[in-house]
C-alpha cells in the first residue's frame, strides 16, 4: 500500500499519563499505541474515565505524556518545549470542543478570525478567510451574530469554522455532538464527514455515542488507558 510508505500523521507508542503519586496515583493512559494516517476519520470511543479525553489532549499537545513516544508526521514531539508545542498546535491543529468554547462577547466572524489574529494575519485577508470558513460550514449571513443569538448547532458550526480557518492538517473534536439533540448532532457529523472527504482534513473525534462513531471509517475503543478493540479502517495494525 502507498499510504504505508508515508509515516502516519500521528503515531503514539506506549504513551503513559500518570497523575499524582503514591496511593492516589491515577494511570489515565497506560501504554496507548495508536497510529492515524492522513485523510482518516477516526472515532476514539470508550466509557468515561477510560482515558480517551486525555489521549485527545496528548495528541493536541495540550497535555504532555509522562512516558512513551509521540511522533507527529514522523517527528518525535514529546520532548519539545511548551512554546514550541504552541507553535505546532497553531500550525497543524484545529480544536472543536463539546461546549463550543466561543468567546461570548465576540461575533461569529470575530470568533472565527481569532486564530488568524494570533497568527499575525491582518485586516482584509483575515476577514475574507473567516467569511469563507463560515460559508463553508453553512453559516453565511450569520457573521455578525453573537453566540447567544445562535442555536447550539450553529454555535458548534462557528467553532468548526474557527478550527478549520487556519487550514489545519488535523482536526480534533472532543464530543462535538455531546450538547446537541439527534437532528443537530447528525448535521454536525455530516459536516465533519464532508470536511474529511472533500477538504482532506484528518479528523479525530472523541465520543461515547455509538451512532455518532458510526459516521467514522475507523473506531478505536479505549479502556483503562489502552486500546481495547478496533473496528473498520484500512491501515489498522
Amino acid at each position: 500500500m502507498q499510504a504505508a510508505e508515508a509515516p502516519p500523521l500521528v503515531e503514539l507508542r506506549g504513551i503513559e499519563k500518570v497523575y499524582g503519586t503514591g496511593e492516589g496515583q491515577v494511570r489515565a493512559l497506560d501504554g496507548l499505541d495508536l497510529a492515524i494516517r492522513r485523510g482518516e476519520f477516526v472515532a476514539v470511543m470508550g466509557p468515561s474515565g477510560s482515558g480517551k479525553s486525555t489521549a485527545m489532549n496528548v495528541i493536541g499537545y495540550l497535555d504532555t505524556p509522562t512516558g512513551g513516544e509521540y511522533l507527529f508526521d514522523g517527528v518525535p514531539v514529546q520532548s519539545v518545549m511548551r512554546q514550541q508545542r504552541t507553535l505546532l498546535r497553531r500550525s497543524f491543529l484545529g480544536f472543536v470542543f463539546q461546549g463550543y468554547n466561543l468567546l461570548s462577547r465576540n461575533t461569529a466572524l470575530e470568533n472565527v478570525e481569532l486564530p488568524l489574529t494570533y497568527r499575525g494575519i491582518g485586516g482584509q485577508r483575515r476577514r475574507e478567510l473567516a467569511r469563507r470558513a463560515l460559508h463553508r460550514v453553512g453559516l453565511a449571513g450569520r457573521e455578525e451574530h453573537l453566540p447567544s443569538q445562535l442555536s447550539g448547532g450553529q454555535q458548534q458550526r462557528v467553532a468548526i469554522a474557527r478550527a478549520i480557518v487556519s487550514n489545519p492538517a488535523l482536526l480534533l473534536a472532543d464530543e462535538p455532538t455531546g450538547n446537541l439533540d439527534t437532528t443537530r448532532a447528525r448535521d454536525i457529523m455530516n459536516l465533519l464527514v464532508e470536511l474529511n472527504r472533500d477538504d482532506g482534513i484528518t479528523v479525530v473525534m472523541v465520543t461515547h455515542e455509538a451512532d455518532m462513531a458510526a459516521y467514522c471509517q475507523r473506531r478505536i475503543h479505549v479502556v483503562d488507558g489502552r486500546v481495547d478493540t478496533e473496528a473498520g479502517g484500512s491501515g489498522a495494525a
Binding site: 489532549n57 493536541g60 495540550l62 497535555d63 511548551r82 512554546q83 504552541t86 507553535l87 498546535r89 497553531r90 480544536f95 470542543f97 468554547n101 466561543l102 468567546l103 462577547r105 481569532l114 486564530p115 489574529t117 494570533y118 497568527r119 499575525g120 474557527r162 478550527a163 487556519s166
Partner: protein
C-alpha cells in the same frame, strides 16, 4: 497585534467601568498630587523670584541671630541690633548707597470702627528709598517728625482700601495699640506680593515713634543695606560682616550671632524650603502610586481568574504565551494610563484653584504632565506583569475546564 490588544483592553475595561474607576483611584490620586504640587511649586518659585527681583539684587539685610540659634529670628539670648549699627555701616562701609534700620510688628490697626490686621514698620524715609517705594499722595516724613518721634504714618494703598473704603485717607487717624497717628502719605500701589505678604498692606511710622509707643525698646530687628550697584554687593557684604563682628565684640573663634543675607541667599533659602516640601509631597505621591499599583495588580489577578476559560480558549486556538502576556499587560497599562489621565486633569484643576487662592501664577508644565503620565503607565506595566504572566502560564486544559 498591539492595536488588537489595546482594543481588547478598552473593551474589558469598559465592561467593568465602575470597578476599573475604583481600581485606578490610587494612581489618579498619586498623579493628581504630583501635578498639583509641582505646578503650584513652580508658580510659587516664579512668584518668589519676582519678589526677589522687586526687592532688588543690590539689597542686603542684616538681622540678629542665626537660624540655628533662634528659628523665629528674634533676639532670644542674642543681642539685638541698634540704630547705631546702621549709622556705623553708613559711615564706615564703602560703596553703600543707603542704610535703613527697621523694626516691625504684625498688629491690628483701627480706624473709624473698622479694624485690619496688618504689618507696622518703624523706620524712616531711607527705607522707602531702599525699597524704591514712592509716595503717591501726601508726603514723606519730615526730619523733625523722625527725630521727635511724631505720631504720623505713611500707609500702603491696601490699607486705604480696607480702612477707608478706597476714599481719601490723608489727614485721617489710625489707632495702633496706644498710638494714634495721622496719615501724612499714601504709597503708590504695587499690586504684587513678596513672600506671601501683600506689599500694599503696610503702615510705616518713624522708628522712634515705633520704639517708644509700640515695641517699648530701642532694638532694631532688620537693617536694609543697599549697595551702590550689584557688582559691589560681595564687597559690601564682607565689610558689613567684619564691621558687625567688631561692633559685637566677637572673638575670631566665635560664630556670627547675626546674619547678612543678600537676595540670592534668601531666594536659595526659599528654594530649600520648597525642596523639602516638594520632597515630602513627592513621597506621599509615590506611596499613593504604589498603593494604586497594588490595586491594579489585585484587580488584574481577579480578572485573570474570571477569564480563565477565555484564556484557555485563546491558548487552545493558537495564542502564544507572549500574546496572552501582552494582552493582559496592555490592559493593566491602559487601566493605569486612564487613571493617570484623570489624575492629570484633576491635578491641573486643583493647581488652578490653588494658584488662584494663593495668588501665585498658574504655570502648567507639559514636561511634568508627560512625566506623570509616563509614570502612571510604568506603574501599570510593573504591577501588571505578575498577573499577566500568571495568565500566560495557565495550563490550557485546566483553563478550559474552568467554569
Amino acid at each position: 497585534m498591539l492595536l488588537e490588544s489595546i482594543r481588547l483592553a478598552f473593551g474589558a475595561i469598559w465592561r467593568n467601568a465602575l470597578r476599573s474607576l475604583l481600581t485606578v483611584l490610587g494612581v489618579t490620586i498619586g498623579v493628581a498630587a504630583v501635578i498639583t504640587m509641582v505646578t503650584l511649586g513652580q508658580g510659587t518659585t516664579a512668584e518668589v523670584g519676582e519678589s526677589v527681583a522687586s526687592l532688588g539684587s543690590n539689597l542686603l539685610m542684616v538681622r540678629p541671630g542665626q537660624f540655628s540659634q533662634t528659628p523665629g529670628g528674634g533676639g532670644v539670648g542674642v543681642a539685638s541690633l541698634e540704630e547705631a549699627d546702621a549709622e556705623a555701616i553708613a559711615r564706615q562701609v564703602d560703596s553703600v548707597r543707603i542704610v535703613a534700620p527697621t523694626d516691625s510688628r504684625s498688629l491690628t490697626a483701627l480706624a473709624g470702627g473698622v479694624d485690619l490686621f496688618t504689618t507696622v514698620i518703624g523706620t524712616d524715609n531711607r527705607y522707602l528709598d531702599a525699597r524704591e517705594w514712592k509716595v503717591a499722595e501726601g508726603r514723606l516724613f519730615e526730619e523733625g517728625e523722625v527725630l521727635a518721634g511724631a505720631s504720623v504714618c505713611i500707609v500702603g494703598a491696601g490699607v486705604v482700601d480696607e480702612l477707608f473704603g478706597g476714599g481719601s485717607a490723608l489727614g485721617e487717624s489710625i489707632r495702633l495699640r496706644r498710638l494714634v497717628c495721622q496719615i501724612v502719605g499714601v504709597l503708590e500701589r504695587k499690586g504684587g506680593s513678596a513672600f506671601g505678604a501683600n506689599e500694599d498692606d503696610v503702615i510705616i511710622v518713624p522708628l522712634r515713634t515705633f520704639q517708644r509707643r509700640i515695641s517699648g525698646n530701642t532694638g532694631v530687628t532688620l537693617i536694609y543695606v543697599a549697595a551702590q550697584d550689584e557688582a559691589a554687593i560681595t564687597q559690601v557684604k564682607d565689610d558689613v560682616t567684619a564691621l558687625m563682628r567688631e561692633r559685637r565684640h566677637l572673638a575670631t573663634n566665635e560664630e556670627n550671632d547675626f546674619m547678612v543675607m543678600d537676595m540670592r541667599q534668601i531666594a536659595s533659602m526659599l528654594d530649600t524650603v520648597m525642596g523639602v516640601l516638594t520632597g515630602l509631597l513627592g513621597a506621599v505621591a509615590g506611596i499613593s502610586l504604589v498603593v494604586g499599583g497594588i490595586g491594579i495588580m489585585n484587580i488584574m489577578l481577579a480578572s485573570v481568574t474570571e477569564r480563565t476559560r477565555e484564556i484557555g480558549i485563546r491558548l487552545a486556538i493558537g495564542a502564544r504565551e507572549s500574546q496572552v502576556l501582552l494582552q493582559f499587560l496592555v490592559e493593566a497599562t491602559v487601566l493605569s494610563g486612564i487613571g493617570g489621565l484623570i489624575g492629570i486633569v484633576l491635578g491641573l484643576a486643583l493647581a488652578a484653584l490653588g494658584a488662584a487662592y494663593l495668588g501665585v501664577p498658574f504655570t502648567p508644565d507639559l514636561l511634568v504632565v508627560l512625566l506623570a503620565f509616563g509614570f502612571s503607565c510604568l506603574v501599570g506595566i510593573g504591577f501588571g506583569y505578575f498577573p499577566a504572566r500568571r495568565a500566560a502560564r495557565l495550563d490550557p486544559i485546566e483553563a478550559l475546564r474552568h467554569e
